[in-house]
C-alpha cells in the first residue's frame, strides 16, 4: 500500500525516529543533572552534533568519519590524552590565508564551504589572525635573528648602564673668587684671591 508521503517527508520522519531513539537512549544514561544541560544535550544528541568519545573500534571510526563528512581513510582523531577533544577530527594546521583566494567559496571571507569540517582552532586561523603561509626564510632562522638582535641590544644597554664611561673631568671653576658674594660672603671684607689657573 503506497502512502501519500513524498520521499523527502519519509526521510524526515525516519530522521525524527532515529533522533527520538537516540534521545531516549541518552536520557536513560542519565549523565546530566540540570534541565538546561539536559535539553541542550538531547538536542545535540538527536541531531548528531555531539563529539562523542574517542573512537576505539573500526565501526566507531567509520561512524565518526561519516558524522564529520570525512573519508574513513582521511579521518584521524586527536590522540586520546584526556585533553577533551573526544572524536573530533585532527585537520591540517593551515590557516585560511593559505586557501585559494580565487575559488568561489560559499563563505568568501572565511574561505570555507558550507558543511566543511572546521579545524579545532578555526577561530585562530581566520584571516585576521594567525597566518601559516610560508615565510621567505625558515621560521627558526627568523626567530633566531630577531631574538639574537634584541638580546644583544638589551645586553649592551645593561652593560652600559652598569659601567658608564665618561670623559675625565675636574671640579667646576667659578669666577669672582669662587662666587664669594653669591655664596653669602661678607661684602665689607676683601676675600682672599682664588687662582683657578696655572701658568
Amino acid at each position: 500500500m503506497r502512502t501519500l508521503l513524498s520521499l523527502n517527508q519519509k526521510r524526515l520522519l525516519n530522521m525524527a525516529g532515529v533522533g527520538f531513539q537516540r534521545w531516549a537512549r541518552f536520557l536513560s544514561k542519565g549523565k546530566y543533572s540540570n534541565i538546561s544541560a539536559l535539553l541542550s544535550g538531547c538536542r545535540a544528541a538527536s541531531s548528531g552534533m555531539k563529539n562523542g568519545p574517542y573512537p576505539k573500534t573500526l565501526e566507531e571510526r567509520a561512524a565518526a568519519a561519516k558524522k564529520y563528512n570525512i573519508r574513513v581513510e582521511d579521518y584521524e582523531p586527536y590522540p586520546d590524552d584526556g585533553d577533551g577533544y573526544g572524536d573530533y577530527p585532527k585537520l591540517v594546521d593551515r590557516s585560511q590565508h593559505e586557501r585559494d583566494p580565487w575559488y568561489q567559496w560559499d563563505h568568501p571571507d572565511l574561505r570555507r564551504n558550507w558543511g566543511e569540517p572546521m579545524h579545532w582552532d578555526f577561530d585562530m586561523y581566520i584571516r585576521n589572525r594567525v597566518d601559516t603561509s610560508p615565510s621567505p626564510v625558515p621560521w627558526s632562522t627568523m626567530c633566531k635573528q630577531l631574538l639574537g638582535f634584541i638580546g644583544f641590544m638589551l645586553l649592551m644597554f645593561y652593560i652600559g648602564h652598569e659601567m658608564p664611561v665618561y670623559q675625565p673631568i675636574g671640579p667646576k671653576q667659578f669666577p669672582y673668587n669662587n662666587l664669594y658674594l653669591e655664596r653669602g660672603g661678607d661684602p665689607n671684607k676683601t676675600p682672599e684671591d682664588v687662582k683657578n689657573y696655572e701658568i
Partner: protein, 127 residues
Amino acid sequence: MADYREAPLATRPKTLDPNEYFNLSAEKRRTEEERAALRASLKRQYQLQLNNPHRKELIEDPAMNRWVYARANPYPHFRPTFKTSLMGLLSGVVPLFVLYYAFKTDRDNREEKIKNGTLERKFCLSS
C-alpha cells in the same frame, strides 16, 4: 607553466601542483574522486537550501554546530592523566604561589626601606 614559482609568501595552489597531474595511480585518483564526491554533495545540499524560494529561515551549518559544541564541552572527554594534571598545576596552582611570594618579598623590602628611610624616591618613571 613548468617553471612556475609561487609568490614568496603564498602556498602553491593545489591546481598548480604537478603531482596532481603526473604519476597518478588509480588509487590516488579514486581518493581524490571520493573527496570530490563528498564536497559536491555538501555543495548540492547548500545550493538547494540557498536557492529554495520557500525558505524563510537561516541555513544551519551542522559542521559549525558540531565545532561550537565540541569547543564548549570538553569536560565529558576530560580525563586526569599525568600531562593534564601537570598542565593544570602549572597554569593554576604554581602562578598563585609564585606571584604571592614575589609580591610579598618585594613589598616587604619596600616597607622596610621606607621605615629605615633609605627608599630612594626618584623622578625617573622606568624604575
